[in-house]
Every structure is written in structure tokens, then in C-alpha cells.
């Protein structure tokens, strides 16, 4: 087993464990801790996949901004921080759905010829060509999404008399 495979294995285990922990721990503040570990861990996986740009973006946006946003949300709505009723109501249907998904995915594993292609090396010029070249409209659409999200979100939380 190569070093990369070992590293991946370790990171994957950590990712799964922190994801479960984030959803099951009793206090919301601890949830944030676990989920930020999860985000950082995924960023490490991106570095392992020779996608450093995404790794950095993941660190900045997820581990940074999203974590802070969530913390902020908890702070403002702090009345309910420590009282989470029905924390572990394991509904059978979602569990079954999730399990079926998982089994199916494992079933699809055998279809791939066993990892024949080598990893693409990191090519920032190619990535930016993808982002701003023929696939540029994706970013434009993201801009539209953000425009509507920001305008509506500001309206919702803006103070002011009706």
C-alpha cells in the first residue's frame, strides 16, 4: 500500500467519523467544531488529488466563511442552543434510503477498470480556461444565484417597521 493510499484511507475515515459526530453530538457548539474538522479534512483530500486551488477554496469558504456563518446563526438564535429535543429519532425510512444509496454505490464500484489513468497534474492555466472560457456561463449563473440570495436575505433580516 502506497503512502498516498494510506493517507487517503486515514482522511476518509476521519471525514466519515466527523460527519457522523457533527450530526449526533448533543451540543450545537460541538457540532460546529466537528464540522469544521470535516471541512478541513476534505480540503486535505483535495490537496491529495492534486487540486490545490480547490483545497484552498474549501479552506477559505467552508472552513472559514460557512463555519463562521453557522456559529453566528447559533449565537443569534441562542435561546435553543442546549435544548435539542428529539435528537436521535432514527426514522427507519431515511435510514433505509441512505443505506440503499450506499449499497448501490458500492455495487457500481466494480464497473471501473481498476484506476488505470494516472492523476492529472495540477494545471492552473487549464482550470482558469475551463472557468472563464467556454464554461464561463456557469460563473454567470452563480452570480445570478448570489444576487437573488443576497437581495432576499438582506430583506428578510433587515430591521424596519412595516
Amino acid at each position: 500500500m502506497s503512502l498516498e493510499e494510506l493517507a487517503f484511507l486515514a482522511l476518509a475515515v476521519v471525514a466519515l467519523a466527523t460527519a457522523v459526530a457533527a450530526l449526533l453530538v448533543r451540543e450545537l457548539v460541538h457540532t460546529i467544531l466537528w464540522v469544521s474538522v470535516f471541512f478541513v479534512d476534505l480540503s486535505a483530500i483535495y490537496f491529495l488529488l492534486e487540486a490545490p486551488f480547490l483545497g484552498v477554496l474549501q479552506l477559505g469558504v467552508y472552513a472559514g466563511a460557512v463555519t463562521i456563518l453557522l456559529l453566528f446563526g447559533i449565537m443569534v438564535t441562542r435561546k435553543r442552543i442546549f435544548s435539542r429535543d428529539a435528537a436521535t429519532g432514527l426514522g427507519p425510512i431515511p435510514l433505509a434510503l441512505a443505506a440503499v444509496t450506499f449499497i448501490f454505490l458500492i455495487a457500481s464500484v466494480g464497473e471501473f477498470p481498476n484506476s488505470p489513468t494516472p492523476l492529472q497534474t495540477y494545471a492552473p492555466a487549464l482550470l482558469s480556461a475551463q472557468l472563464f472560457g467556454p464554461n464561463g456561463p456557469w460563473l454567470l449563473l452563480l452570480g445570478l444565484i448570489m444576487l437573488s440570495g443576497v437581495a432576499g436575505a438582506i430583506y428578510l433580516v433587515r430591521e424596519g417597521r412595516e
Binding site: 448501490f104 471501473f112 445570478l144 444565484i145 437573488s148 432576499g152 412595516e162
Partner: protein
């Protein structure tokens, strides 16, 4: 790519974007009178509508055409993100029509609302997303365009930000929407992994030549589940009633009449490709034939089952409802089942029928929700029984609503009859087990007559309560500020009623255009 070649085809979209920015600018400047903003929105949507109709080649509107004719229905080269098919343009026109009707009716909203610029801005942004869905040829482009609409509509549902009903509906909508988004993007990622492309043509072609059965099947499964939430197909429908019920009625009209349809067009784009390609090369040569799975029939059968379940369950639940808005919401769910028949069969007549049904539904259901909004503004309660005697006290409003219900039930001389006739006869033409789809559709139409007839009986034949109307439930707060029906709503409802009859008696222009477009769509796709 120089700017002019980019601007030309996208004039309707840019018009809407310009209006959005203008409206937001007014918000910053503190100009928030509802009437003025409504005028801007109506102007932008109607100009965009004229432009789209001009592009489609309606002769009198040629002046407004902006799309270079060479781009219309051009054979795809390479892996484009968007392409202009005439079916896509017809859907753009339908989407713009629904937005136009809602903007027009919203002129009757209270004129002193602080959030009016945001309301119109989000409405126009949602419409912009819908227009972009109609030109997508790339899975990611399609899903992102759907998200433009989704994010805008979550916030539109939350528009009454001091009312818990509105906010709770928004929260439900958001959770379900987020789930649906994740599922569809995950499906897209699996297809991307299998075929190394997100172009819909490339994926469609690849499904018929390259085999990764389980991965691809799983990818399509996730996409069906994700999109089914948007279209409110039955196992994924539970959210719709609560959301339509809790949202401001004008927004419900937009959700049921407009935004829901983008999911259906997405179904056209995503599933017709592989179904058609596999049909074209013949089942024997499909790479899936050798394995345990044959993708085309599997997809078709899944969609057929979903369609039948959706129309039946929707109708049965509609029978049980006591509130007008919830009844209409369930009837809207069952209508989605009829529309899905078109995707399932995938022939030109079937696509024509489904498109016609979508067009009719924009008028009928959009109109019905606008009537509900108007009736609430008159101070009448939300229960069906509260509407007793409406036909005698407000004959015109009652007649318009009756017309919409009759059209929903598919009574001749209304547009609802035309669309159902085309759709079901295409199912009979297609032979095979598709005939059973027509049978199921007819039985369901018969079933739906029961609850529409009950409403008609309440409106016209039950005596009005002798005491001046006392709502049995506390009226939704949107009823309080507005007084009376309002000109905007009255005009819109009248217009819709006229259109329902006009296209019911003389459907040829619309039907002909849709038929030609559907034919093109199939040949370009295959």
C-alpha cells in the same frame, strides 16, 4: 466571442436582468410604491414576451425578433452550454406569460408595502432562471439555472416576513429544495464520472454506446428523484401543499403556474435524449442489452409508473380537502402526472400534448390561485364552504373561476380539453402499454370532475350565509390590508378567462407552433 453575438440571442434575459437591477436600485433610493414597480415588471416581462414570440416567427411581431435566425434549431456543434430550440422558446414564452400574469395581478397588492422592490426583483430573477432553463443543453447549466429560480422562490415564499405561516412555508420549501438540489447534483456528478462530460447531447449519445450500467442508472435515479421534488411527483409531493398554502397567494399562483414547469422541461431535456438515442439505434445494439439492464425501457417504465401514481394520488387527496387553496394544490399535483405522460412516451404528438397541457395549466391554475388571492382580499375565508353564494354576489368573478375549474376538468370548448385530447390521443397512438396511460388519465379526469363540481355547486347553488360573511377560520393576514379585488387582479382574471375560451375554441395557432417545435426537438435531439 464578441459581445454582439452574445447579446442578440439573450435580449429577453438581459431585459429582465435590467429590470431587476432597476428595481433594486429603486429599493436603495427608497422608491417603493407598488404601482410603479409593478408597471416596470409588467413592461419588462411583456417586452421580453414580445421578443420571444418574434423570435419564434409570429409574423406581426417580427419587429421584436432579436435572435439571429441561423441559431434557431441549429444542429449542435461541439458541446455547447446552451442552444435555442423552438420548443425551448415556446417554453420561454409560457414562462414569461405566467410571470406577466402574476406581475399584472400584483398591481393590486397594497401600495405601501416596504418590500415591494424585493418582491418584483425576486419574481423577475426567478423568471430569468426559468428562461435560462429553457435554453440549457448542459446538465450543470440546467441545474444552476433551476437554482436561480429555486433560491428566488424560497425567498418569495418568505415575503411576508412578519408572518410565521409564510416563513414556515419558506423553511419547508428550503429544506426540501436543498435535498432536491443535492440529489440532482449528485446524479449529475455520477453521470459526469461515467461519461466525462456534462453536455446533454454527449450524455444522451454515450448512454447508447458506452456502458457503466449501475453508475449511470444510479445517476439517472438521483436525477429523477431530485427533479421529481421540483415537479411534485407523488412520493416527493408532500411539501407542495403546505408551501402553496402558506405562501402569499400571488406567489402560489407563480409557483403552481410557473416555476413548477421548469422541472418538467428539465425532464424533457434530461430523459428524452437517452430514451430517443436508445430507440434510434434499436434496443438490440444497446450496450445495456448484454447486461442485466436495458436503460431506455427502465427509464420509460419508471416515468410511466410515477405519472400514474401522481395523477391518482393527487386527485384522491384533492377530493378530501376542505380548504380551497389546498384543493387546488393537490389538483396541481395530479396535473403534473398528466404532463409527465408526454415525457414518458417521447413522440412528437406526446410532447405537443404535454406542452399544450403546461400552457393550459399556466392559465387555469395561475388564474385559479389569483382568484383565491382576490377572494381573500374581499374578506372571504379560506374554506370551500366560505365561498357559498359567491356566484350570486360576484357573478363575474364566480363565472371566471367556474371557467377555470371546467377547463381544469377538461370540458370541451376550453383550453384544458384541447390539451388533454392531444395528450391522451398521443398515448393511444403510441400503442403498447402507453394506452394504459391514456386510460388512467381519462379515469382520473372523470374522478377530478367530482371535486370541481362540488366547488361549482357551493359557489352557484348553495345559498349565501344570511349573516354578512363571517370567516370560519382567521383569514390570512394578507386579506387584512387590501380592500376589494383591485383593478390589476380583475383585469388579469378577466384576461385569463378570455384566453381560456379563445384557445379552447380556436387552438390552431398555438397548437400548430407547438407541433412544429416538438417535431424539431425530436429530430435535433436524436
Amino acid at each position: 466571442m464578441d459581445a454582439s453575438s452574445f447579446i442578440g440571442p439573450f435580449v429577453p434575459e438581459l431585459l429582465l436582468l435590467g429590470a431587476v437591477l432597476l428595481v433594486f436600485l429603486f429599493d436603495v433610493l427608497g422608491i417603493r410604491r407598488n404601482e410603479g414597480l409593478s408597471t416596470i415588471a409588467v413592461a419588462a416581462t411583456s417586452l421580453a414576451l414580445l421578443s420571444v414570440l418574434g423570435d419564434l416567427g409570429f409574423a406581426p411581431l417580427g419587429v421584436f425578433a432579436t435572435l439571429p435566425p441561423a441559431l434557431l434549431d441549429a444542429a449542435p456543434t461541439g458541446a455547447p452550454l446552451y442552444a435555442f430550440t423552438s420548443l425551448g422558446l415556446i417554453f420561454q414564452a409560457i414562462f414569461l406569460l405566467s410571470a406577466l400574469l402574476v406581475c399584472l395581478a400584483s398591481a393590486s397588492r397594497p401600495s405601501n408595502e416596504k418590500g415591494a422592490p424585493i418582491f418584483y426583483g425576486l419574481l423577475l430573477l426567478a423568471t430569468l432562471g426559468m428562461l435560462l432553463v429553457a435554453v440549457a443543453t448542459d446538465l450543470i447549466f440546467l441545474l444552476l439555472a433551476i437554482e436561480v429560480t429555486s433560491i428566488s422562490t424560497y425567498l418569495l415564499v418568505a415575503y411576508h416576513r412578519r408572518e410565521s405561516r409564510s416563513l414556515e412555508a419558506a423553511m419547508k420549501f428550503f429544506i426540501i429544495g436543498a435535498l432536491s438540489t443535492v440529489l440532482s447534483f449528485y446524479g449529475a456528478s455520477l453521470l459526469f464520472g461515467a461519461y466525462d462530460s456534462t453536455n446533454l447531447f454527449a450524455i444522451g449519445r454515450a448512454t447508447s454506446t458506452v456502458g457503466f450500467p449501475v453508475l449511470v442508472l444510479l445517476g439517472y435515479g438521483f436525477l429523477i428523484a431530485g427533479l421529481a421534488f421540483k415537479v411534485t411527483l407523488v412520493p416527493f409531493h408532500a411539501w407542495a401543499v403546505d408551501v402553496y398554502d402558506g405562501a402569499p397567494s400571488d406567489v402560489s399562483a407563480f409557483l403552481a403556474g410557473g416555476t413548477k414547469k421548469i422541472g418538467l422541461f428539465a425532464f424533457f431535456l434530461v430523459f428524452l435524449g437517452p430514451i430517443l438515442y436508445i430507440k434510434a439505434i434499436g434496443a438490440g445494439e444497446s450496450p445495456f442489452q448484454g447486461g442485466a439492464l436495458d436503460l431506455g425501457p427502465v427509464l420509460t417504465l419508471t416515468l410511466a409508473v410515477l405519472a400514474v401514481i401522481t395523477m391518482t394520488v393527487g386527485n384522491l387527496l384533492a377530493l378530501l380537502q376542505k380548504e380551497m387553496k389546498r384543493m387546488l394544490a393537490y389538483s396541481s399535483i395530479s396535473q403534473a402526472g398528466y404532463m409527465l405522460i408526454g415525457v414518458t412516451i417521447g413522440t412528437a404528438p406526446a410532447i405537443t400534448g404535454a406542452t399544450m397541457q403546461i400552457f393550459a395549466h399556466v392559465l387555469m391554475k395561475g388564474g385559479a390561485f389569483l382568484v383565491v388571492a382576490g377572494v381573500a382580499a374581499l374578506g372571504i375565508g379560506p374554506l370551500i364552504d366560505d365561498w357559498k353564494g359567491l356566484g350570486t354576489r360576484r357573478p363575474l368573478l364566480g363565472a371566471a373561476f367556474a371557467l377555470m375549474l371546467l377547463s381544469l376538468a377538461g370540458v370541451p370548448l376550453t383550453v384544458g380539453f384541447v390539451s388533454k385530447f392531444v395528450l391522451f390521443s398521443s398515448a393511444v397512438q403510441a400503442q403498447g402499454y402507453f394506452v394504459w396511460l391514456a386510460v388512467a388519465g381519462l379515469l382520473n379526469s372523470a374522478l377530478s370532475v367530482f371535486y370541481y363540481a362540488r366547488v361549482l355547486k357551493v359557489i352557484f347553488f348553495d345559498a349565501a350565509p344570511t349573516v354578512p360573511v363571517a370567516p370560519t377560520a382567521p383569514p390570512p393576514a394578507e386579506a387584512l390590508p387590501a380592500g376589494g379585488l383591485g383593478y390589476g387582479r380583475a383585469v388579469t382574471i378577466g384576461l385569463i378567462a378570455v384566453l381560456i375560451v379563445a384557445f379552447g375554441v380556436y387552438p390552431q395557432p398555438v397548437l400548430g407552433a407547438i407541433q412544429a417545435a416538438a417535431q424539431h426537438f425530436i429530430t435535433v435531439g436524436a
